[in-house]
Symmetry: D2
Subunit: 148 residues, 4 copies
């Protein structure tokens, strides 16, 4: 399949722009099936595994104080470790969506359209207040961050 070929190429080149959520979903499903590990992949087991990976990701950033975009000064080993932890979160997220029967790619596109309608450019541009409002709305916060 064309996408599959792209994936292998992408991997070889370290360029994963063309990797689809369908690719990852299938690879994760095959990986579990081959090892007879579906028995362990219940929604809440996978959710807690995801939380564990988010913890690992947080550990990478925990003692650094503010970190600039692009991670200036990080060596290759640190960046590789970051890529692995980001991947672990992504892979469990994709797997969780799959076992829940959620079309993650479609849901993500819909969520972005909802956000785009909710926060029109002319209304929100350059406004941190609007941003915080957007952010707190978006994250289901009780809104008290509007006070910022």
């Amino acid at each position: 399949m064309k996408e599959k070929e792209d994936s292998s190429i992408a991997m070889a080149e370290g360029d994963g722009e063309g990797v689809t959520l369908g690719d990852l979903k299938k690879k994760m499903a095959d990986f579990a099936k081959e090892r007879d590990w579906d028995q362990f992949h219940s929604p809440r087991n996978l959710l807690l595994a995801l939380v564990g990976e988010v913890g690992e990701l947080s550990e990478i950033f925990q003692w650094r104080g503010e970190v600039p975009r692009g991670l200036p000064g990080w060596d290759e080993k640190e960046k590789e470790h970051l890529g692995e932890e980001l991947s672990d979160v992504l892979l469990y997220l994709v797997r969780l969506a799959d076992v829940c029967g959620v079309d993650l790619g479609g849901a993500a596109l819909r969520k972005m359209e909802i956000n785009a309608r909710k926060y029109p450019v002319q209304y929100c541009k350059g406004s941190s207040k609007k941003y915080i409002h957007y952010a707190s709305e978006n994250s289901g916060s009780n809104g008290s961050t509007d006070e910022l």
Copy 2:
């Protein structure tokens, strides 16, 4: 724009299998740029936003006890809400990888290859012990879950 058209089609059909990580990365970058919100998208800000979304996702599952695969008995509104929270985690994860300069798709494919080499089928098949070992290794745990 071509990608936009593809996205709308995918969305219209509710089939997001073909959505690429590159699509989501670009859409998130455009969304932030149009609103002048790049100023808020530092790595640790996005990481904490991701943690906030993981919290929202956990709230959906928190009082239900064990939840079977496929979510039998969940109504459409619940499933839609789940799709939105899964999407919020995915979108912040994609954005975090982008501002860190990490090729998330490539890193995910590499991580799956590492896992495949590390846990050969013939060695791991149907073994929960190996699975737990795999899981604890994979999640960077101190390994004491090997006692399970």
Copy 3:
């Protein structure tokens, strides 16, 4: 105060009922000061460290499916590991509150009074609907879990 004296004994006896939040706050502050580690204990550093520990805690429960109260079948080593991870979360939480200037003990008592007023026994007793409502309110959810 008798309970205070019991702290050291408590440790020996494994009875920590009398341990106060003030005890833990002071011990954590002294620990950091003696090692000149205050420089690393900024609020967001500690928050990310807390998230890391919550991840470790989740790993203990991640592959077990539902776990009954009292953890029947867990061996001593597993329970000890659980105690350590619960402690790591507690200690970073106490430290985070301290560097933020929050009186955690007082805040916790106030929060329990708020909850008690908000959910009078006669109104909530035995009602999972009220419970879910309580839970979603309490957790600042966007309320869609009310649909449960």
Copy 4:
């Protein structure tokens, strides 16, 4: 009851230094029992509720960039909201330990002794390398943060 009186005083004065983990454990147990909510307080339900609260806590800090100790510039409403979210995490943590049969206070004191033995002052003082090592050890990281 003596403890209740102490609690109210502590609360009235906004001084919770003397609040014990036993106080909070008992109050949480009574609160659940009075409302017949023990049925919802399984270990993994409480763990996911804890993760939800950690998400709420993270939302408070997510868009602020680095935050100095003492939270200069935060208004009373923001600090009160922070106190409530810190409390929600603490209360679910205490409740989780209780339903797991873990003596949280004793475990916390033991964990601090372990840390003190593991990181002697003369060895660790003022050393961020040792600190990172301590931190990564402590948090069960795979140690690659030693590269920092």
